[in-house]
Amino acid sequence: MITAVETYRSAEEAARALGGGGAIYLAGGTLVMAEVNANRTPPRLVRTVDPGLRQIVASSETIRLGAGVTMAQILASRDCAVLHDVARQIGGPQVRSMATVGGNLFARHPYGDLAVALLALGARVALAGQTSLRSLADLLRDRERPALVTQIEVPRPRGDRAFGFVKIARIHPRGASLLSIAAFLPREGSRMRGVRIAYGGMADRPIQAAAVERALEGAVLDEGTIARAVAVAAQGLEPPTDSLASAWYRREVVGVHLRRLLERLSRP
């Protein structure tokens, strides 16, 4: 049962308050308030009204998103165009006007589609009270460790075909994803260099598909390359079985959706 709500002016103060334990951080509320309503949280609710967390700062190389930026803000920002297709597929309008970028990084499967896209894009995160940035991949690996993310820095991909995202849901237009795939395919000439492929729904958190990345790295995105990537789409992965899909189903279909996404990105 919640016994106290603590509201801090700055993210740093909130981070310190969280350090004491027995507390949970409340951002947009779409995940945490559901747990509060079900009496499944620690007794202290910590939040901040730090305006910095709501800011979007774009440069030619990167987009810096405050952790409290909502999906609706992303959709309203021309600078965030690369993320529009992803943000549009998250929740319905109400969820999008509440759910934050920072919260999405900690969302448990089947939520967290934006984190999948950010992982593929090679985003880095800033933590409250720390000056250096940390890779999102690193944060996701041990995201159970308490950390208050304040900013997410997203490199801007070059060209329309350098990034693509697909979300597979049973319910349209709005349903939880049984899996999602994000592909970041930067080109050097005709060859792909620095490929990152991220999956949602294929593990308990967003992960990179190392075998697929190896199949694509340095290659030309043609029919043969796509076939080689699809052949290893589920390699080394142990997807979960849940009410949305079985592990078997996920392994069966991930290659199909990967193929469609890669084919889309291979067209001029």
Binding site: M1, I2, N37, A38, N39
Partner: protein, 571 residues
């Protein structure tokens, strides 16, 4: 509603219908819609009470377990908790929903005290100053469970040695009419007809439980009134059903219960179970304050009674020309842990067999099976929906075997006016052929000239109106020890007050009775009153002596017959 969504086919049966309609086909504004669009329609929770308390149940984490001990001391000390109820606080802690219709044995506690039979079964109710405090208190109810083997599949449940869900039904099968462990339908001689058929086509079909999922979860708010009554605002779909159930469970005359309902935030059948009203009122009685008991969404999905699972085996005998000459069903309804409405559902199902087709030999054994799953209840056409899916899927399969277009195959076998149905009534107001013709037209499926010419009004009756020359009967599944004059009532009428089910001597199941020789009966001409011929029972069921009334509570009622539902197209 926009007119374009409906097409009136006034060319069909035009001579029989009165088309001077004043309402049908014309938009009519609903009388309750202004309340809906202004948010003023008073749903049960839209009433404010000073000092409202919130009730929440502690629930079983096991499918099946014996309760060794329930310890509520920590819950009672939890901040904001006002009172904790267990089964001992419930005046009549055993009920079956249809007992109001004298249908079935009381089998379900309001709060379980000795055994839990499904995951989520309530064992205690915590009443607190806020919903959060009630949740916190419910989490602190300590129950010492001894987990028991459980069974979750209907066919597993009726195997010898399966865990027994309810001691009063040792074979995990509801007793139909006090006589058999299943509901029978016997019409003609299916086995003989299957031997003469050109093809025999078998199929197995099943349907999972379906949650009604109303947007408003089930609930009730009760409060003491100054006139020695209790007011209860409820989401029930069946106000008087809930009123009478509450009267029985709380041993209160219904004149002291002031029920207000009628504004239901979606029901679809899931709001007939009358689960919330008795506990909310009991809470109000014991605390003297208003009490709200409502399910959250998780409870609605987990413990709200769904449309039950069904499994069907269908065997058809069919001739090369597409005529179905025999159809045999073996059906299993998953009642879950208690009877609720499944016993009634199987009667509806069997009355519906073999679907809208004229088949001269029909056989069905349909079982109401108890398992350790959430008790099933009503939902939109329950009893019919699952088997209709099975029948129509099977029709497609048989059509393929005989190489016919599935729509023509249906037209060929459809009921026509005047045909004898398997439950021994004459079919009237048939319209399946016309529906099939329209579907074919809309779907662009070409029909043969004969199928196009077919009519529900032609070709029926005559020989097709006759009962089969002989009907093969059997005593499979005969049981003893249940009174035949009620629906499966056992030795005493209801469980003694405050005690869980303690059946008198176990009924002797005639488990091997399928070995009894089948008997034939001569047909009788169809009665105009539509009463089916009654085969003489092989053995008279031992009649029970008049049953004593319970010490208090409603007076015993005479058994009530279910009336049939008849089509009224033609006047």
């Amino acid at each position: 509603m926009s007119d374009s969504m409906i097409e009136f086919r006034k060319d069909l049966f035009a001579d029989e219908r009165d088309d001077r309609l004043t309402v049908i086909g014309k938009p009519v504004r609903r009388q309750d819609i202004l309340g809906h669009v202004t948010g003023r329609s008073p749903f049960f929770d839209d009433h404010l009470f000073e000092g409202l308390l919130h009730l929440r149940c502690a629930r079983s984490p096991h499918h099946h377990a014996r309760i060794r001990r329930i310890d509520v001391t920590e819950a009672e000390r939890s901040p904001g908790v006002v009172r904790v109820l267990t089964g001992r606080d419930v005046p009549c802690n055993l009920n079956t929903l249809l007992s109001l219709l004298d249908f079935g044995i009381d089998d379900e506690p309001v709060l379980s005290g000795e055994r839990v039979r499904y995951m989520g079964e309530p064992v205690a109710a915590v009443i607190a100053e806020s919903e959060a405090a009630a949740r916190e208190g419910a989490a602190k109810v300590r129950v010492d469970y001894e987990p028991l083997p459980h069974v979750l599949d209907v066919e597993e449940a009726i195997k010898p040695g399966a865990p027994v869900v309810l001691d009063i039904y040792p074979g995990n099968r509801f007793i139909c009419h006090g006589k058999y462990d299943h509901q029978k339908l016997r019409f003609g001689d299916v086995e003989a007809a299957l031997r003469t058929a050109d093809y025999v086509v078998e199929g197995r079909y099943q349907m999972s439980p379906i949650e009604q999922a109303p947007i408003e979860t089930c609930g009730a708010i009760a409060a003491p009134e100054t006139n020695d009554r209790y007011v209860c605002y409820t989401s029930t779909q069946a106000l008087f059903f809930s009123l009478a159930t509450t009267s029985k469970v709380l041993r209160l005359p219904s004149s002291r219960l002031h029920f207000i309902g009628g504004t239901v935030g979606g029901g679809f059948g899931g709001k007939v179970d009358s689960i919330h009203e008795p506990l909310a009122i009991l809470g109000a009685m014991l605390t003297g304050r208003p009490v709200k008991y409502a399910w959250d969404r998780e409870e609605e999905m987990q413990v709200g009674g769904p449309r039950g699972a069904e499994r069907w085996y269908i065997t058809d005998g069919v001739m090369r020309d597409g005529r179905i000459v025999a159809r045999k069903f073996v059906g299993y309804f998953d009642s879950g842990a208690y009877t609720r409405l499944t016993s009634y559902a199987i009667m509806k199902a069997v009355g519906h067999l073999p679907g809208p087709y004229t088949i001269p030999n029909v056989y069905a054994d349909v079982y109401c099976v108890f398992t350790n799953r959430t008790p099933a209840t009503a939902m939109r056409g329950f009893g019919i929906t699952g088997v209709d899916f099975a029948i129509e899927a099977h029709m497609d399969k048989v059509a393929e075997v005989v190489g016919m277009n599935p729509i023509e195959f249906r037209i060929l076998n459809s009921y026509r006016d005047g045909d004898m149905k398997a439950h021994r009534r004459i079919a009237k107001n048939c319209a399946l052929i016309e529906c099939c013709q329209v579907v074919a037209e809309k779907a662009g499926v070409a029909l043969s000239p004969e199928a196009k010419r077919a009519s529900s009004r032609q070709g029926g009756g005559g020989e097709r109106a006759q009962l089969p020359p002989r009907t093969a009967l059997d005593e499979k599944g005969r049981v003893e020890g249940f009174a035949a004059h009620g629906y499966a009532r056992k030795g005493h009428r209801r469980g003694a007050p405050d005690t869980p089910v303690r059946p008198s001597p176990e009924p002797a199941f005639a488990r091997t009775s399928s070995a009894l020789p089948a008997r034939d009966i001569a047909s009788k001409p169809p009665s105009t009153a539509g009463a089916p011929p009654q085969p003489a029972p092989a053995r008279a069921a031992p009649s029970q002596p008049p049953l004593p009334s319970p010490p208090s509570g409603p007076a015993p009622r005479a058994p009530i017959r279910f009336s049939s539902i008849s089509g009224l197209r033609r006047r």
